[in-house]
């Protein structure tokens, strides 16, 4: 009887120990850094670099205009515990970011703190304004064009910047961040090799874009943007501008109008009907259309769509 009792007690003790030990073993490691990004593209790259050591969330969605995000108080709640707030910069988030950063009362992500990460500081930026700049030129970004993530080389730069900043804030994870960055770059290298033949087909092809957001992709793919639907950045097209643009398209043979999913396509359809062009809705960001759920997928999708259209 005693033996049975002893065996039973031992069994209970072992079961108790296992019940404590097993869940611990099953739980994933707790993230060391809580990262909030302004866009889905930065979110995906930060997640690739940070891996399980980071928890990453984003504020804007890939299918909305990142210039016009509403400064909702619920975003303040996301930011108040952040270790890092990474944003595109170059005034892309100027309409909402300061309200959220101030509202969060989080000293870790205030300007000048290591958690305040202006990603544009690591990027060779296009369209930096020269000479006098004012709003007669439209909704200009004086420090440069902020849509830089659409060049994969800038994707690498963003990843390296995240690696360095995450390593600074979480030195114990530096080796992991470096390894993840190498893996991210390797996958980007492989993808670029795979789509190199497609890029060759795009070189020099004339297109029209709605907004200046496609300039980096054009630099990379070597497509030739011969005109913009917007007469000036952020300014909706006027009839006079459209008449000139139709002439330009006929003269250059541009047969594709590239635009983001959040713009109204009626005007683009109007121009397309008069030029025989095709309106190509391309997502500028991860999540911009269904099925584009990561950064590599975004680039692959946009390049494939361009090849199909041109």
């Amino acid at each position: 009887m005693k033996r049975i009792l002893k065996a039973g007690l031992a069994g209970i003790a072992v079961a108790t120990m296992l019940s404590f030990a097993l869940p611990v073993a099953a739980q994933p490691p707790k993230p060391r850094l809580f990262v909030v990004t302004s866009t889905t593209d930065l979110h995906d790259i930060a997640h690739s670099v940070g891996g399980a050591r980071t928890e990453v969330i984003h504020i804007s969605e890939g299918y909305q205009d990142p210039h016009f995000v509403e400064a909702k108080p619920s975003f303040v709640l996301r930011l108040r515990k952040a270790d890092v707030f990474a944003f595109v910069g170059l005034d892309l988030e100027v309409g909402w970011m300061s309200l959220l950063v101030d509202g969060s009362r989080n000293p870790k992500i205030r300007p000048g703190s290591p958690g305040y990460l202006d990603v544009s500081r690591a990027i060779p930026v296009l369209d930096v304004a020269r000479g006098n700049v004012d709003r007669s030129q439209g909704d200009v970004h004086p420090s440069g064009n902020p849509h830089y993530w659409l060049d994969p080389e800038n994707g690498r730069r963003i990843a390296r910047l995240f690696r360095d900043r995450f390593s600074q804030l979480d030195p114990a994870g530096a080796a992991t961040y470096a390894q993840n960055t190498r893996a991210f770059e390797a996958s980007l290298d492989a993808a670029e090799k795979a789509w190199a033949p497609q890029l060759a087909k795009l070189r020099g092809k004339p297109v029209v874009a709605w907004h200046t957001s496609w300039k980096y992709l054009a630099e990379y793919t070597k497509i030739n943007i011969v005109g913009f639907m917007e007469p000036k950045p952020g300014v909706p097209p006027s009839p006079a501008h459209l008449a000139g643009l139709i002439g330009t398209m006929k003269r250059t043979g541009a047969k594709v109008i590239i635009m983001e999913p959040f713009y109204d396509r009626k005007t683009a359809d109007f121009v397309a009907a008069r030029t025989g062009a095709k309106v190509l809705i391309l997502p500028p960001s991860v999540g911009g259309v269904k099925g584009v759920s990561d950064y590599l997928g975004l680039l692959r999708h946009d390049i494939q769509q361009l090849v199909n259209a041109l």
């Binding site: 969605e61 299918y63 909305q64 205009d65 016009f68 509403e70 400064a71 909702k72 108080p73 619920s74 303040v76 709640l77 108040r80 005034d91 100027v94 309409g95 909402w96 970011m97 300061s98 309200l99 101030d102 969060s104 009362r105 989080n106 000293p107 205030r110 300007p111 000048g112 500081r121 690591a122 990027i123 060779p124 930026v125 296009l126 369209d127 930096v128 709003r135 909704d139 420090s143 440069g144 730069r157 390296r160 910047l161 690696r163 360095d164 390593s167 600074q168 030195p171 114990a172 994870g173 530096a174 080796a175 470096a178 630099e219 952020g234 909706p236 999913p261 959040f262 713009y263 109204d264």
Partner: protein, 429 residues
């Protein structure tokens, strides 16, 4: 022999293992070294890219220097022009048909790592130059708190915290104009706020203590100033509650309260002057305000440039001390002329976005008369707004304004244009 070989293999694998698992200090040092080396490599790569860039494609990168080397504050200005085409004469302050209602000049910058400063000056023909707001915000406080010192819009109600030029309508709702002032309620003093989310949604408590509530009653002379006792200062509190209903819609439901001693007019022996008081005689009485506001917003993310909808309602109740106990004026019969009853008022406002640049809206207002039981002002107004860009706005308003006490209704037609220059300011939410 077999044993010694096994021992040697064990020692070798142990030393190999120890080589693969360095101490924590080694690991950190190595990580730092990797990070430094990688950062230097990155900078060199970018410098090389910059030097290789052709002139036709200007490129900038790290080390491009400060954006604002002289540490100048952000300076912006908003012009607010109104025109009154009401059929029975101008209904705006000063009786003008065209008026520069206000030019708002704003300066803001970080003061140091601990404070940010904001200055907003209002310039108008009626008031000259006035300090609309001037406050320092402490940005480095613990426990998710924030504090301000200076003059600021009082956090009472919803629209009161928005500057007049940035309103969805041409003028503040009548209840705000009547109870809080034609330009909203401002105060000079201390402001504190804390955010929290114990129930999973956003909540914020805001509290202020100010020298006085609203515009000082300069023309009223009282025996002693309202702020002589601490109980005579202005106090306010507000609780904000915010929920995301869906990705595209959200709700805010908030409560506000404020109290202060405010000067109200009196008659001495039936005359508007009192011995010993230099000016129109007044008496300090307690006036309190309570309010609730509700806002529903809808803006689908993908179509948010073209479609949005907002409905907003606000109710305020003014609680007046009806029978002041102590006038402080001796040797004379004092007759109180201040508010004789409590009064309530509110509005319901809605706005729908028609196109990327145009909106249509309407508002219904009502305000009780605080002197008489049978008086209630009502008004209905409709709006059309057109935004040539984010930095300019044109609005047309028609209002049917019906004062209480049997007075005849007034038709008002106002046009407004606002335009802003300077750095892009955040969009109010």
């Amino acid at each position: 022999m077999r044993f010694s070989a096994a021992f040697c293999a064990l020692v070798a694998s142990a030393s190999a293992l120890s080589a693969q698992t360095p101490s924590r200090a080694d690991s950190v040092a190595r990580a730092d070294s990797i990070a430094r080396a990688d950062s230097i490599a990155l900078v060199r790569e970018l410098e090389a890219l910059q030097s290789a860039a052709p002139d036709s494609a200007p490129r900038m990168g790290p080390g491009q220097g400060p954006v604002n080397p002289r540490l100048m504050p952000d300076i912006s200005a908003i012009g607010d022009i109104v025109a009154d085409f009401s059929p029975d004469g101008s209904t705006i302050e000063g009786g003008r048909r065209f008026d520069i209602r206000e030019v708002e000049l704003a300066l803001s910058s970080a003061v140091d790592p601990y404070f940010r400063a904001d200055f907003i000056l209002g310039i108008s023909d009626a008031e000259g130059i006035a300090v609309e707001e001037a406050y320092a915000t402490a940005t480095a406080l613990p426990w998710e708190t924030q504090a301000r010192i200076g003059r600021f819009h009082m956090p009472f109600g919803k629209q009161n915290t928005t500057h007049r030029a940035e309103l969805h309508t041409v003028e503040y709702p009548h209840v705000i104009q009547r109870f809080l002032g034609p330009e909203g309620l401002k105060g000079t003093g201390l402001w504190g706020s804390k955010i929290f989310a114990p129930f999973g949604f956003y909540q914020e408590v805001l509290a202020t203590v100010v020298d006085h509530l609203g515009e000082p009653e300069e023309e009223l002379a009282t025996v002693e100033p309202a702020n002589k006792r601490l109980s005579g200062l202005g106090y306010s509190a507000r609780l904000r509650n915010y929920w995301d209903v869906s990705e595209a819609s959200n709700v805010e439901l908030s409560l506000s309260g404020a109290t202060a001693a405010r000067a109200q007019p009196i008659l001495c022996n039936g005359l508007p002057e009192c011995a010993g008081l230099d000016g129109t005689p007044g008496i300090n009485v307690r006036q309190s305000l309570v309010g609730a506001d509700f806002t529903y917003r809808w803006k689908p993310l993908e179509r948010g440039l073209y479609k949005s909808f907002i409905v907003q309602a606000e109710y305020m109740r003014q609680l007046n001390q009806k029978h002041p106990r102590e006038s402080g004026v001796t040797g004379t019969r004092v007759e109180y002329l201040g508010p004789a009853r409590d009064a309530g008022g509110g509005y319901v406002f809605s706005r729908y976005q028609l196109t990327r640049r145009s909106y249509v809206g309407g508002r219904f207002d009502w305000v009780d008369n605080d002197q008489s039981d049978n008086g209630r002002t009502t008004a209905f107004s409709g709006y059309l707004q057109f935004f040539p860009s984010e930095f300019s706005k044109m609005a047309a308003m028609y209002e049917r304004y019906k004062p209480g006490l049997g007075e005849r209704a007034i038709n008002r037609i106002l046009l407004q244009m606002t335009f802003a220059v300077g750095p892009h300011r955040p969009h109010p939410f």
